[in-house]
């Protein structure tokens, strides 16, 4: 085969410029148009997830907000939870077409229902004392611990002595898992939901609950005597002080963290504690309707005394989680009406959580921005001053309009010790 010598064909500047410009234009055309510009609202990241993401980017762990949130909900001297419960009952009654005290209109239009809800809120706030849950918040927190950790019998008996109530709580916990999600909705198949429920039931009944925290499964069992969460003493609290319900739940978080430490290193146990805080909040929002159910008596004694509310009791407003889950896809079972109390309550609580997260994010962001601009301004000023100083050092005594030779001499003056006298 004959020797082939490659032809050398160098391009001129114009030829090279054109071919490279064509190449870059083709490359730009091949880049996909940004499809993230118009993401529908329902497909966007949830506000909760986004705020957590922003806070973590700011270097702030949101645990402080979770604690504040728990404090607010379980505040034994406050009325925040009570007000939200009254509003949720008012919404649920309005959805049924009831306007307290006199109107019962099952065929109410959407606009009428909306008016009824607002009217019911005003009415209930006027007649039900806003302190009706204060004395039972401790028990609500105890029941929440049972719903999270189980078991039906054994250690949980010291938290709630009524076996039928413990059964109900465990059942509600199984049905209530993921009824309401504060995070962007995961894509989960129906059979997986069912499998998860069965697995959770087994875990709760046995009292060995597996939580997926920080991408690993952690199996948690309630202590032999979980009463110390609520009665003081134990390794995390001072025995002379009775913890508040919120502090008790934080003790439960500490307990999970401590359990995780047995199977992990210290660093991971901290992250488990942090993640479990989020799990606790999510579960609480899902279980709150069931947790409140036994304590709604004061509201319904008022409701039943009105002509429109005759025959209405807690079970016809705060539907069980199992009922809500089973009837969700069946329009003949009035799923909207059944979900109304849960939906109103969970969204009201979520709103408060988002408010706390947003306030913290704004505060921390303002601080970061202020520090950032101050730092960059100082840097800029420092560089400018340094340049001016160097220029002045070199050209002091020489005017701006001096000849080039004079400036050259001035600039080289600093090197006289090496170069010797520089002639003009």
């Amino acid at each position: 085969m004959a020797l082939q010598i490659p032809v050398s064909s160098p391009l001129t500047e114009a030829q090279a410029e054109l071919t490279s410009k064509i190449g870059s234009m083709k490359s730009l055309l091949s880049i996909d148009i940004d499809t993230n510009l118009n993401i529908p609202k329902e497909d966007q990241i949830s506000t909760y997830d986004y705020l957590i993401k922003v806070l973590r980017a700011l270097g702030v762990e949101p645990e402080i907000v979770f604690n504040l949130f728990l404090d607010k909900i379980f505040d034994q001297a406050g009325t925040f939870l009570e007000e939200k419960v009254l509003d949720a009952v008012a919404d649920s009654l309005g959805e049924k077409g009831i306007q307290l005290p006199n109107t019962n209109n099952p065929n109410a239009t959407e606009n009428q229902k909306s008016d009824y809800k607002e009217s019911n809120k005003l009415y209930l706030r006027g007649v039900v004392p806003a302190t009706f849950l204060q004395a039972v918040k401790q028990q609500i927190a105890k029941n929440l611990v049972i719903m999270i950790f189980g078991p039906k019998n054994g250690p949980s008996e010291s938290l709630n002595s009524d076996p039928s109530e413990r059964d109900r709580l465990v059942e509600e916990a199984v049905c209530g898992v993921n009824l309401f999600s504060i995070s962007s909705d995961p894509i989960v198949k129906e059979e997986n939901v069912e499998y998860n429920r069965i697995a959770l039931r087994q875990q709760l009944e046995k009292g060995e609950v597996v939580f997926e925290v920080s991408c690993q499964d952690v199996k948690i069992t309630l202590p032999e005597e979980p009463g110390f969460f609520f009665e003081g003493g134990g390794q995390f609290s001072q025995s002379s002080q009775l913890p508040t319900p919120s502090q008790s739940l934080q003790l439960a978080v500490e307990y999970v963290k401590n359990q995780a430490q047995n199977i992990n290193n210290e660093q991971n146990s901290n992250s488990v504690g942090k993640s479990f805080n989020e799990i606790l909040i999510t579960k609480m929002l899902n279980y709150m309707s069931s947790l409140l159910f036994p304590f709604l008596g004061p509201i319904f004694s008022v409701v039943q005394s009105t002509p429109a509310g005759n025959g209405i009791d807690a079970s016809s407003v705060a539907y069980s989680n199992c009922d809500i889950a089973d009837t969700a896809g069946d329009s003949s079972q009035n799923p909207v009406e059944k979900q109304s109390f849960f939906k109103s309550l969970a969204n009201a609580l979520l709103k408060e959580l988002l408010r706390l997260l947003l306030v913290l994010a704004v505060k921390e962001f303002k601080r970061l921005v202020a520090n950032y601009f101050a730092r960059t301004a100082i840097e800029k000023q420092r560089r400018r001053v340094e340049k001016l100083r160097q220029k002045f050092e070199i050209f002091k005594g020489v005017s701006d309009t001096a000849s080039k030779a004079a400036k050259y001499a001035a600039a080289a003056a600093a090197l006289v010790s090496i170069l010797g006298q520089i002639p003009n």
């Binding site: 609202k41 705020l51 993921n178 009824l179």
Partner: protein, 138 residues
């Protein structure tokens, strides 16, 4: 998938981002407007020079953790070459292609002096129409 949805009024992640970006923009210190003296002194400025710009930028590579000079084994530092190309092209575009359009409002005070047969005349007035001008950046 959750059975009960989040209230659409609480789905505000985009608005949160917009609000924080707004705060970032609002808290930015505005660039101060130069005084007339500073503007007049611009005549003494040396003008843009790509080589000085390149050396200023490369001298700060260390702040960003980027090595300067030839790399290990004598490999050319492509980052320096890239900065050279970018600076030269930008400075060239500013000096060759950039156009500065200026408009002055009507109402600029004008004073003039002259003379006619009756003797010296001094006039004071104001421009009655906006004027345009153009300039080049150097």
């Amino acid at each position: 998938m959750a059975v009960i949805g989040i209230d659409p009024e609480l789905q505000k992640s985009e608005e949160v981002a917009d609000f924080l970006l707004f705060m970032l923009k609002e808290d930015r210190a505005p660039v101060p407007k130069p005084s007339i003296q500073q503007i007049l002194l611009s005549k003494t400025r040396p003008g843009l020079n790509a080589q000085i710009l390149i050396s200023s930028i490369t001298s700060r590579f260390e702040e960003a953790g980027i090595p300067t000079g030839p790399l290990a084994g004598g490999t050319p530092n492509v980052m320096e070459n890239l900065i050279k190309v970018i600076c030269e092209e930008i400075v060239s575009a500013i000096q060759s292609d950039m156009r500065i359009d200026i408009a002055t409002d009507a109402g600029a005070i004008v004073s003039a002096s002259g003379a006619n047969a009756g003797g010296p005349v001094v006039a004071v007035g104001a421009t009655t129409a906006p004027h345009t001008a153009s300039g080049i950046a150097s």
